[in-house]
C-alpha cells in the first residue's frame, strides 16, 4: 500500500545543490535557452538574474516566475470538432517590501519592460504598506537550484492529430448509435508547461510538466427527463494516460447507462447508509476537506470572495474531523497525480503532509507566510494558475488513505443503502460545512446486493458529522487518483489542477434526496 506513496520516479532530477547559478550545467543551458526564447534583445542575466540582484538591494524579498505553455485541446460534440492550439508565456514578479506584498506581471518581454514591471510591483507593495496591520514574514526555506521534468511514455504532442480526432469521433459514433443519445461529446487536452523560478534567496528552479487528460460524456433525453453519464480524468502523464482510459469501450457502457437511467426510479428521500464511488468521493474530499484546510482561507484571505473555513486554528491537533477510519493526506509526490509537482511557486519542495490522522485534524496546507502563523515551515502548497497571477495556497493531491475492504465486501456488508458515483452537481456553504452533492447515477443496495439503478441521486450533510459517520474505506486495490483540472480560488479566479487519491467508502445514516416541504 505504501509503495504508491513513495517519492515519484517520474521526476528526473540532476544533482541538487545550493548557491549561485552557473552556466556550466546542461539543465541550466535549457533554462537559458527557454529564457532567451522569451527575450527580444539583451541577455538572460540582464533580464532576470541581475534584476533580482538589484531588487535585493531595495526590498525584503522578491521572486520571479517565467512561464511558457504549449497547449492543444481537441473538443468534439456530436461529431463536430474544435481544434484549439495555445501558446502562452509571460512572467510575474512578486515583491515583499517593508513587510507588504506587491505583484505585477506581463506578457511583454524586453529589458525596459521587465524593469518597469518590477518597479510597478515595488510601487504596489509600497501602496499596500499604507494599509497594513502587521508585517508579512516568511518562514525559512532552503534555497534550491534544481531542474525537473515529467517523464512521459508517449509524448502527447507527437501523437498524430488525426489519431486523436479519430478516437473522439469514433466514441461519438458509438454513443450516438443509440437513438436516445442526444448529445455525445468528448475532449483530449495536452499541455506542456515550462516554468523557471528565481528568488532573491538564491533559488533557481526549472520545471517542465506535461498534463494530459480528457474524456467523454453522453446525454439522453426522454420528455422532460435528461440524464448524463460521463468519464473525464487528467494526470501529470503523457498520452499513455488517454490510452489507459479505454474510451472506446467506455463509450458503449456510458451510453447504455444513460439510457437505462431514463426509466430508472427516482432516488428516494430519507436517511440511509451511503457508499460513494471513487470519482464522487474525490469531489467530497475536494470540497469538504481540501478547501477548508487552506490556511490562507482559514486566516480570512478569501473572506471577501470564496469564503472562510470552519477548521479554525483552535481546532488544530484536537478536533475530531472524522471517524477512526478517516486518514487524509496532502501529497504532492504521488506519481502521475494531477496535483503532483517537485516545487511549489515559492520554491518549496512538494511534500506529503498528514491532514487528518485516524479522524483527528492534524494539519493545514501552508505557504511560507501563513506557516509562520502556526509556528511551522511551509509544506509547499503555494501555486499560481499562470504567470499572470499571484500564488495562493492550493490543494496538491488530497487523499483518503485506503482501508481494508474490497468494494464487493462493502456492498455485501450493507443491509440497506445506496451506492452513488460520478458528480453531477455540487454546492457547499462558505465555511465548508453544509453540502449538497448530486450524482449521475446510483444503485440501491438491499441485503448486500445491488438491486436497481436509481436516477437523480442527491445527498446532503454537515462536513464533520458526515466524515465521523464513515465506517469503512476500501483497500489499496480499489484506490486510485482522480484528476480535477479546474479547482477555482482567488480573485481573479485562478483555475488550477489538483488530484484526489481515493477508494470507495461507506457513510452511515446520511440524508439522501431533497427534503420535501
Amino acid at each position: 500500500m505504501r509503495a504508491r506513496l513513495v517519492r515519484s520516479s517520474h521526476i528526473v532530477r540532476p544533482p541538487t545543490g545550493k548557491g549561485r547559478v552557473s552556466r556550466g550545467n546542461l539543465w541550466l543551458d535549457n533554462t537559458v535557452r527557454f529564457l532567451e526564447r522569451c527575450r527580444s534583445g539583451g541577455n538572460v542575466e540582464e533580464y532576470f538574474l541581475n534584476l533580482l540582484n538589484d531588487l535585493k538591494k531595495n526590498v525584503d524579498y522578491a521572486d520571479i516566475r517565467v512561464l511558457e505553455e504549449f497547449g492543444e485541446e481537441i473538443q468534439m460534440k456530436n461529431g463536430e470538432v474544435n481544434f484549439v492550439n495555445t501558446r502562452d508565456r509571460g512572467y510575474g514578479i512578486r515583491v515583499l517590501h517593508k513587510g507588504s506584498w506587491g505583484f505585477a506581471s506581463s506578457s511583454t518581454f524586453g529589458a525596459e519592460q521587465v524593469r518597469r514591471v518590477a518597479t510597478t510591483a515595488t510601487e504596489i507593495a509600497a501602496a499596500s504598506g499604507t494599509l497594513k496591520r502587521q508585517s508579512a514574514a516568511l518562514s525559512e526555506a532552503e534555497p534550491r537550484v534544481d531542474s525537473c521534468r515529467t517523464a512521459v511514455v508517449k509524448d502527447p504532442f507527437k501523437v498524430p492529430p488525426d489519431d486523436k480526432v479519430g478516437l473522439l469521433v469514433e466514441c461519438s459514433r458509438i454513443m450516438r448509435r443509440h437513438k436516445a443519445v442526444k448529445v455525445a461529446e468528448g475532449s483530449i487536452e495536452s499541455r506542456e508547461i515550462t516554468k523557471v523560478f528565481l528568488n532573491t534567496e538564491g533559488s533557481h528552479i526549472e520545471q517542465r510538466t506535461v498534463v494530459t487528460g480528457g474524456g467523454i460524456s453522453c446525454r439522453t433525453r426522454s420528455g422532460g427527463e435528461i440524464q448524463t453519464r460521463s468519464l473525464y480524468d487528467y494526470a501529470v502523464r503523457g498520452f499513455e494516460f488517454i490510452d489507459s482510459m479505454n474510451l472506446l469501450k467506455e463509450s458503449e457502457r456510458l451510453a447504455r447507462e444513460a439510457i437505462e437511467l431514463l426509466s430508472a426510479p427516482e432516488c428516494p428521500s430519507g436517511t440511509t447508509d451511503l457508499l460513494l464511488g471513487g470519482s464522487q468521493l474525490a469531489l467530497q474530499i475536494h470540497e469538504s476537506c481540501g478547501h477548508p484546510i487552506e490556511l490562507d482561507r482559514v486566516l480570512g484571505a478569501e473572506a471577501g470572495f470564496y469564503g472562510t473555513s470552519f477548521l479554525t486554528l483552535d481546532k488544530l491537533g484536537s478536533f475530531r474531523y472524522g471517524s477512526d477510519d478517516v486518514t487524509i493526506t496532502a501529497d504532492a509526490t504521488l506519481p502521475g497525480g494531477l496535483g503532483s509537482f517537485a516545487y511549489d511557486d515559492e520554491g518549496v519542495s512538494g511534500q506529503r503532509t498528514v491532514i487528518v490522522e485516524r479522524g483527528i485534524f492534524k494539519g493545514y496546507l501552508t505557504s511560507r507566510e501563513t506557516a509562520c502563523a502556526i509556528g511551522q515551515k511551509s509544506n509547499g502548497s503555494m501555486r499560481a494558475s499562470s504567470w499572470s497571477c499571484i500564488p495562493l495556497i492550493r490543494m496538491t493531491n488530497i487523499n483518503l488513505e485506503p482501508g481494508e475492504w474490497t468494494l464487493e465486501e462493502l456492498i455485501r456488508d450493507t443491509r440497506k443503502g445506496i451506492l452513488m458515483d460520478s458528480t453531477k452537481s455540487w454546492s457547499i456553504d462558505d465555511k465548508r460545512l453544509n453540502f449538497q452533492f448530486g450524482c449521475e447515477s446510483a444503485w440501491q443496495i438491499e441485503r448486500g446486493k445491488l438491486v436497481r439503478l436509481l436516477k437523480n441521486p442527491v445527498y446532503t450533510g454537515i462536513t464533520p458529522q458526515f466524515w465521523r459517520s464513515c465506517d469503512a474505506v476500501c483497500n489499496s486495490e480499489e484506490w486510485r487518483i482522480w484528476g480535477v483540472p479546474n479547482c477555482g480560488k482567488g480573485e481573479p479566479t485562478q483555475s488550477i489542477p489538483v488530484g484526489h487519491g481515493v477508494a470507495p467508502a461507506r457513510f452511515r445514516d446520511v440524508e439522501v434526496g431533497v427534503r420535501r416541504s
Binding site: 508565456r89 499596500s128 435528461i226 471577501g304 470572495f305 462558505d430 460545512l433 427534503r515
Partner: protein
Amino acid sequence: MSEERIREAAKVVLSTSGADQLEVTLLQENQRLTRFANNEIHQNVAHEDVQVRVRAIRGKKIGTAKVNSLNQQRLKWATRKAIDTAPYGVENDYFTSLPSPQRWQPIQAHFPSTEEVSARRRADVVREVVDKARRSRLSAAGALSVRTRRFGVFNSLGVDAYHPSTWVRLTSVVSSQDSSGYSEVGSPDFECVHPARVADESISKCVKGRHPVEVEPGRYDVFLEEYALSEIFNWLAWIGMGARSFQEESSFMYGRIGENIMAEKVTVWDDGADPDTFSLPFDFEGVPRRKVTIVERGVARGVVYDTLTAARGGSISTGHALPPEYSLFGPLPLHLHMAAGPSSKASIISSIEKGVMVTRFHYINGLLKPREALFTGMTRDGTFLIENGKLTTPLKNLRFTESMLRAFTNVAEISKERRVLGGDDFSTFVLPAVWIKDFNFTGRTEF
C-alpha cells in the same frame, strides 16, 4: 497599447495565405486589483496581457490557435497553426462563412482617468471602507478591481470592429464574530464608485445580522436582493438562454417558446450596448450585439445566437458568440437585464407578512435538472426573517433547492430600484430585487 498596434497585428494575421477565410480577435487587458481582508491590504496586483485568437477556415473546416503576444513571429505561428490544423477537423455542415461587416453603434465606455488610477489611489479607496469597518469594530474584506480592455475583431471579409472600455468594481464583505454583510458597486468610471456607500451598506447588514438564530427549513416567501438574483441569473444564462443548450434540448426554454414560463411581471432581455454596464457592442465574431428579449411578460420569447447556431436554427446571429475555444458550448447572454417594477424595495418588504430576506447566494449549482432549472445553493452575508413587513431577526444561513421556473412563476413584486452587478469577466447584469412566494429551503448550516 494603442489601437494602431492592435490593427497592425491584425494585418499581420490577415495577410497570411493558405486559408479560405481568416478571423483574428485581439483582447488587450490591463487589470489592477487590490484585495483586502482583516482590515488590511493582503493581495495587491497588476497584470497586463494580450490574447490573440486566430480562426482559419478551409472549406467547411475550422482551425483555431491562441497566442498572447503581438510579436510578429508569434502572430505568424498562431496563424499558421490555425491554418495547418483546420484540415484535422470534421466538415461542419452548418458553416457557410465568417460574418460580413455590419454596422454597429460605438459606445463611450473608456474613461482615461480610470485607466490611470494608481496603486496609492486604490489603497485610499480601500482605506475608506476599512476605516469605517474599524470604527464599527468590524472586519472588512473585499476587492477593488480596475480594468482596461481594448477589444478588436477583424476578418478577411472586412469586419473591422474595435472597442476600448474601462470597468471598476468594488466589493465589500464586512464581518463580526457571528454575522456578515455584503455590498458591491460597478461602473466604467472610477469617479462613480463611492466607497463610503459600499462600506455603509455592508456594515449596516453586518450589524443587523448579529446573533443570528436558526429557523426550520421549509417554504417561505423570500425577498431576494439584487445580489442574490445575480447569482441565479448567472446560472440561468449558462444552462438555458443560449442557442446550444436550446438546440440540444436541455434548456428550460426548449419546447416552450411562446408559452408562459414565468409570472407576467417578469421581462428579461440581453443588451450589450447599455453604457452603464461593462459594455460590448459586438461579439467575438465581430457581429453587433442585438437587444434580445428572452422572456416578455412571463412568456418565453427566444435565446441568443452566434453564427453557427443561427445557421443550424434557421435564424440570424444575435451577436453573442464567445471566444472560438468555446464554440461547442455556444453563445451566451452576458448583459442580462430584468425589467423594474413599480414599488420600492422598502415598500415591498413592508407588504410581506412572513418571509426571508436573502442578501446573497453562495455556490449555486444549476445542473440538478436543467429542464426544470432546478437549482441549489446557500444564503450568505445577510439573511433575515421578515415578520409583518419588518426585518425582525437575523437568521443562520439556509440551503435552498428550488426550480427557478416555479420560483419566477411565483414572483409577487419587483423593485423599481435596479443595480448594475458583476464585471469580473465579460458579464454585467442589471437587476432589481424580487419578492417570490413559497420558496423552498431544504437545509441549514451552523452559522
